[in-house]
C-alpha cells in the first residue's frame, strides 16, 4: 500500500468542525477502511477539533493543524493547536471531567478518542498549546452485523 500524507490548517471556527472530520475521512477512504473504522476516525477528529475550538482558543480564533500519515494500512493523525494548553492532562483525560460543566459539556471527548482509536496520547504545555496524537488500523475488517 502506498504511503500518503495530508496536512490541513484552518481557523478554530466551529463551522470548520464538519469540514475537518469529513476531509480526514475522505483522505482515509483510499485505504478502503470499514464503515465503522471510518466512523470512529470521524468522531475522534471531531472531538479533537472541538477541544481546540472550545478549550484551547475559547472566544479567540487560532490555527488548528491536522496532519495525517498513512503508512501501510495504519493511519497516524495529529491535531495541534497553539492555544492555552491543558493544566493537568491526567485529569483532563478522565471520563466525565469537564472545565465547563454549565455548558452541557459531557467531559467524554478524550474518552471517546481513547476508546475509538487504537493508540492515543496528549502532549500539552501551558500557554503554548496541545498536540493530540492518534493511530488507527485502516485494514478492512470483518464487520459485525
Amino acid at each position: 500500500m502506498t504511503n500518503n500524507y495530508l496536512k490541513l490548517q484552518f481557523y478554530s471556527l466551529p463551522q470548520n468542525q464538519a469540514f475537518a472530520r469529513d476531509a480526514v475521512a475522505a483522505f482515509c477512504v483510499q485505504s478502503n477502511p470499514s464503515l465503522s473504522t471510518l466512523s470512529d476516525i470521524k468522531t475522534a477528529v471531531s472531538e479533537a477539533v472541538t477541544n481546540c475550538t472550545v478549550h484551547a482558543y475559547g472566544p479567540d480564533v487560532g490555527i488548528i493543524t491536522i496532519e495525517c500519515d498513512i503508512c501501510g494500512d495504519v493511519l497516524h493523525i495529529s491535531v495541534t493547536d497553539a492555544g492555552r494548553g491543558i493544566d493537568d492532562v491526567e485529569r483532563a483525560v478522565k471520563p466525565f471531567y469537564t472545565t465547563l460543566p454549565g455548558d452541557e459539556r459531557s467531559g467524554m471527548g478524550f474518552t471517546i478518542m481513547q476508546t475509538f482509536m487504537d493508540d492515543f496520547s496528549v502532549s500539552s504545555k501551558k500557554g503554548e498549546g496541545t498536540v493530540v496524537s492518534m493511530t488507527k488500523q485502516l485494514a478492512a475488517e470483518v464487520e459485525n452485523v
Binding site: 465503522s36 466512523s39 470512529d40 470521524k42 472550545v54 467524554m108 471517546i112
Partner: protein, 103 residues
C-alpha cells in the same frame, strides 16, 4: 439540523435530522427546549435519532440537558433509532441507564 415533531396523545416525538456537533448543538438545544415548553402536557418525549448522520460527545450533553429539563416538568425522556456510530457514543457514556432506548 432540521427538527420535526409529532404529537400522539401524551407522546411527543422530536425527530432530529443532520449532524450534531458543537456547531449545530446550540440551535438544536434552543429549538428543542421551545418545543418542550410548548408541550407541557406531554407524558413522554422520544428523541428520534434515525436521521442523525453524525453525533459526537456533544450529543451526550444535549440529551442529558433535555433529560434534566423534561424531568423537572415530570416528563419522561427516551431515544430511538440511533445509527451504529451514535449508538456507540451513547453506549460508551452509559446514557441508556438514564434515557432508555425504545423501539
Amino acid at each position: 439540523m432540521k427538527i420535526q415533531t409529532a404529537r400522539s396523545g401524551s407522546r411527543l416525538v422530536i425527530k432530529l435530522c443532520g449532524e450534531m456537533d458543537e456547531y449545530s448543538a446550540a440551535q438544536v438545544r434552543t429549538a428543542c427546549d421551545d418545543i418542550i415548553d410548548r408541550n407541557k402536557t406531554a407524558g413522554s418525549i422520544v428523541i428520534d435519532l434515525a436521521d442523525v448522520a453524525f453525533m459526537d460527545s456533544t450529543g451526550i450533553g444535549f440529551l442529558i440537558g433535555r433529560y434534566k429539563k423534561a424531568g423537572k416538568m415530570g416528563i419522561k425522556l427516551a431515544v430511538q433509532s440511533p445509527n451504529f456510530a451514535a449508538d456507540k457514543v451513547l453506549s460508551l457514556a452509559g446514557i441508556y441507564t438514564l434515557i432508555p432506548k425504545v423501539n
